[in-house]
């Protein structure tokens, strides 16, 4: 999120990258690739596609950085590039389905919500949770690209509405309505499962 990224540091790297210093751009790649990976991955649900897209996103950002004038933060700017390129990619890819990786990072064991959801240490409950996650991945695939983008940024990445609105170039009201509609759809898909 923006509060996690010191903007002055970004601005300095951006200025150096604009002056032709590749190491400064590398620093930006290192800083933003995990977050952008999450964004692209949860929209494509495929590791290989995510890897290729992420390379292209940073290549485009590198080519375009001389024209970046800092009207928005680098974070917002590079996320806009990522979302647009991913949506274009998904439109071209069509309805090919790719389900999520099941290998969650070990950090999930310490997550408050994970602990809550599996508090009873009941194997049946854990199995259900795992099944529910799988169904959720399938349900995510059924959302439209725009709705999936909003759910990914808000629910998975925890971005505020205003930031999502800036990245997508839409109003906050539209972000909220897309979220509402996407949640209803996901709930319906999960109810069908039960």
């Amino acid at each position: 999120m923006t509060e996690e990224t010191p903007l002055s540091e970004d601005a300095e790297w951006v200025a150096r990258a604009q002056a032709g210093d590749p190491a400064a751009f590398d620093a930006l790649v290192v800083k933003y690739s995990p977050r952008l990976y999450g964004l692209v991955y949860h929209m494509t649900s495929n590791h290989e596609d995510t890897n290729d897209l992420l390379q292209e996103i940073f290549a485009k950002a590198y080519r375009s950085i001389p024209g970046f004038r800092g009207k928005s933060s680098f974070y917002t700017w590079v996320h806009s590039i990522a979302v647009n390129m991913t949506i274009n990619f998904l439109k071209k890819r069509g309805k090919r389905n790719h389900l999520s990786l099941d290998d969650m990072d070990s950090g999930v064991q310490n997550d408050k919500e994970y602990i809550e959801l599996t508090a009873t240490s009941d194997p049946v409950r854990e199995a259900n949770l795992s099944e529910l996650q799988m169904r959720l991945n399938e349900a995510m695939q059924k959302l439209s690209h725009d709705h999936r983008a909003v759910v990914t940024m808000f629910d998975i990445q925890g971005m505020p509405h205003a930031e999502i609105a800036r990245i997508l170039g839409i109003s906050e009201g539209t972000v909220r309505s897309r979220l509402f509609y996407a949640h209803r759809q996901l709930q319906n898909y999960l109810e069908e499962f039960h």
């Binding site: 999450g38 999520s100 969650m104 996901l186």
Partner: protein, 190 residues
């Protein structure tokens, strides 16, 4: 079991842990650098420079677009209006009239030459249109082929003018040498 909003949000938040192993991002940077270098080597230097320049100019035009486009539009409209007013005030003056004079000067000698030649028509053959219906063998001894064809009942060959639809001028004979018409039209038109 219905999944309420809160449970759904929690399930979605857990998806943030779906991450590749940490070494992936080190490899990612290396791969990015290699790709960048390969791309730079593949593209000619002028293209890289041009892309950079275009990106910079894009930014320039973005920031000054409103003022510059408005200014350019006003200038174009102003020049067009001044030119129109000038033309309305002095219709026979200016560049257009001098062009017309030039055109007349070029055309005149050709028009005169044409007028002279037209008064003395070339007498190559009969001055009346040919109208003939030939039946049976053609009586030209050297053209045996025509004779043979006629014996085997080949269709008649009619030579006739196209009749009363033609105007008085077009009924006059036209003489064709090769494919170049010695017609009435001027050779040059502007």
């Amino acid at each position: 079991m219905a999944v309420d909003d809160e449970t759904l949000s929690k399930l979605l938040r857990l998806k943030r842990y779906e991450q590749p192993p940490p070494e992936y991002f080190d490899n990612f940077l290396r791969e990015f650098q290699q790709r960048q270098r390969a791309e730079m080597l593949r593209r000619p230097a002028w293209r890289v420079a041009w892309e950079r320049l275009a990106t910079r100019l894009n930014g320039f035009f973005d920031s000054y677009s409103t003022l510059s486009y408005a200014g350019a539009s006003v200038a174009v409209i102003g020049v067009a209006a001044a030119f129109t007013v000038q033309m309305l005030k002095h219709p026979g003056s200016g560049a257009i009239s001098s062009f017309a004079e030039q055109r007349t000067a070029i055309q005149q000698p050709y028009q005169e030459a044409y007028a002279e030649s037209y008064q003395e028509p070339v007498a190559l053959a009969a001055a009346t249109p040919v109208e003939a219906v030939r039946r049976g063998p053609v009586s030209i001894p050297s053209m045996d082929r025509f004779t043979l064809n006629a014996r085997f009942g080949m269709p008649e060959v009619r030579f006739q003018s196209s009749g009363p639809r033609q105007s008085a001028q077009s009924r006059q004979p036209r003489y064709i040498l090769d494919t170049r018409p010695a017609s009435y039209e001027a050779s040059y038109s502007f």
